[in-house]
């Protein structure tokens, strides 16, 4: 596939109808909450686009993000869009291996220096560079080298965006996120464990069409991470009515009531799961009967327990209250005894006023 051809030409060659292409553009515009008038703008921009070079680096990760993207559905238009992007280096997907693979990365960097998009999944070991290497190069060195020539960086998955599971307590590798190491480049965070495939492609489309998207305080594109799961959840009316499942097999669970009591992190989690859903819009975890784990938020693995309700303190408060009571008894007895002694002393030292004293004063 030639890099000189535009996306429009490539789609035409591959027999993708304009109708299908516009449908994809409309879906993407809808996900980004853009008005219908923007659909032709997205279509026109994408059609004219020449295949930008993408280098995808995978560090401390489980390949779930790549699996999410590639196994979403066969032959979707997202796949073709991705085919149309020149994915020059992705060590899980590329055919080449060893030095040939690294050569592909170096060539792609040289040819497109300053213009390629860097996609990263996985966290980077911060304690010891030897924890994770590729072709003898530490993750940190490779990230900094490739990031230096990138037009922009897209951190995909919770590991690359916030450290993810490798960063979970006790974080043996000292895992850090991309934004912890790269400070001088635009970074778009696409968290999730894994992120929704349509969101990954949506972010790329948004970036290619409109440039750097509007980001929230955690560097996430507001178009996809602007709403909490709770606010968009189809079970929200049950929360409002005070109807909750108390266990995974009680009447409430069977009736599809709110999963807040079972530890749902929907109220504090921003993602598009409740609207875009998974498997081509089939379902999402809450619809399948499981509470949201909050995987698109920082430290989701250590956020007080998956099955503990958000309002419940994370430490043993009952024990704290008992210790406090014991400490209060000791301190209170000491203070009380001191006050009692003062009172007795005051009574003892009390000078009685006689009629004679009063007479003298007057």
């Amino acid at each position: 596939m030639s890099k000189d051809k535009t996306l429009g030409e490539t789609l035409q060659e591959r027999g993708i109808s304009r109708r299908s292409f516009l449908k994809f553009c409309a879906t993407t515009a809808s996900m980004m909450a853009l008005p219908p008038a923007m659909i032709p703008v997205i279509a026109a921009t994408l059609e004219k686009l020449r295949r930008p070079s993408v280098i995808w680096l995978s560090f401390q990760e489980c390949t779930g993000c790549t699996e999410s993207l590639t196994r979403s559905h066969s032959a979707t238009i997202e796949d073709l869009i991705f085919d149309t992007i020149s994915l020059d280096y992705h060590h899980t997907l590329q055919a080449a291996s060893g030095s040939a693979a690294e050569q592909a990365r170096e060539e792609a960097m040289q040819e497109n220096y300053g213009n390629y998009i860097l996609v990263v999944d996985g966290s980077i070991p911060g304690e010891n560079n030897g924890y994770s290497t590729i072709a003898g190069i530490s993750n940190k060195d490779m990230l900094l080298e490739v990031a230096a020539g990138a037009a922009a960086i897209v951190a995909v998955g919770s590991c690359a965006t916030f450290g993810g599971i490798p960063h979970a307590d006790p974080n043996p590798t000292g895992a850090v996120s991309v934004s912890d190491l790269v400070k001088d480049k635009a970074i778009v965070n696409v968290p999730g464990c894994p992120p929704i495939p349509a969101v990954i492609t949506g972010v790329l489309v948004q970036f290619l069409t409109f440039g750097l998207p509007e980001l929230d305080q955690l560097g996430r594109p507001a178009a996809f991470y602007g709403n909490s799961i709770h606010d968009r959840c189809y079970r929200r009316p049950f929360y409002d009515k005070g109807l909750f499942a108390n266990s995974f097999d009680d009447e409430g669970a069977k009736k599809g009531w709110c999963l807040f009591k079972l530890g749902c992190k929907g109220p504090t989690t921003y993602n598009a799961c409740a609207t875009t859903k998974w498997n081509d819009g089939t379902s999402f975890p809450i619809e399948a009967g499981h509470p949201c784990l909050g995987c698109s938020e920082p430290d989701f693995w250590d956020a007080g327990g998956f099955y503990k309700a958000l309002s419940i303190p994370t430490e043993d408060i009952g024990k704290t209250a008992v210790y406090a009571g014991a400490a209060g008894l000791i301190a209170g007895a000491a203070i009380g005894a001191s006050l009692r002694a003062r009172k007795q002393s005051a009574v003892k030292n009390h000078e009685r006023v006689t009629i004679d004293d009063l007479d003298q004063e007057s």
């Binding site: 430290d299 303190p313 406090a324 209060g328």
Partner: protein, 219 residues
């Protein structure tokens, strides 16, 4: 510190610290009062101290006609915000879960929209009593810094709760974190301010009633 880290801190170490201070503080305050002791009443009992105590516990919650005519506003607004606080604190399901974790006791909650509406009414009632306190010359003269502090730490959890429920301005983890932190501030100040009346009120009323009952006087 990210918003999530902040939320975890207020749900974890900060909540434990607030619980410790509140529980230890309450025990200290109770012991301070009890250990002072009272002189034995050597007079012959002319009635039942216990009966008078329990009767007063109940009767002092009902304003008499004279009080109502003199301080109708204080009584009505006081009832509204106290009942409102009870509903908002004890009948919101996420709050019940906290009490259940500590005590093992659970009870049914109200729909969150009813809690939200009650919260708004309670905040209005609290604002009204504050305005009354500032406007009324006698109230203003009697008020000191502590009175305004107590009002503030009572109002703050209602306000942050409202903001967290409606997700105003900040991220949800930050808003929920601020709400819990405001409750922790209330917990820390509880034993050491007039807020402790929520506990001491009952024994004070009982004691007043018991003295009267012992003397055979109705209170």
């Amino acid at each position: 510190m990210t918003d999530t880290e902040f939320l975890l801190w207020v749900r974890g170490p900060a909540f434990s610290a607030a619980t410790f201070i509140m529980c230890a503080g309450l025990v200290i305050r109770f012991l301070e009062i009890f250990l002072l002791g009272r002189k034995a009443d050597l007079a012959e009992a002319r009635g039942s101290a216990a009966a008078g105590g329990f009767r007063t516990l109940f009767r002092r919650s009902i304003p008499d006609a004279g009080s109502f005519q003199r301080s109708g506003f204080t009584i009505v607004s006081g009832y509204i915000f106290h009942i409102g606080l009870f509903i908002v604190i004890f009948l919101f399901v996420p709050h019940i879960l906290v009490f259940e974790t500590v005590s093992g006791l659970s009870w049914p909650g109200l729909p969150s929209n009813i809690i939200d509406a009650t919260n708004v009414v309670t905040m209005i009632a609290l604002l009204a009593v504050l305005i009354h306190r500032v406007k009324d010359p006698v109230m203003r003269m009697l008020s000191e810094f502590n009175d305004y502090l107590v009002w503030f730490v009572t109002f703050l959890p209602l306000l942050t709760g409202y903001l967290a429920f409606h997700r105003v301005a900040l991220s949800a983890p930050m808003l929920i974190g601020l709400h819990i932190l405001s409750v922790e501030l209330l917990m820390v100040l509880f034993p050491f301010t007039k807020l402790s009346h929520a506990f001491t009120l009952w024994m004070a009323r009982w004691y007043n009633g018991a003295i009267a009952g012992y003397k055979g006087v109705q209170s």
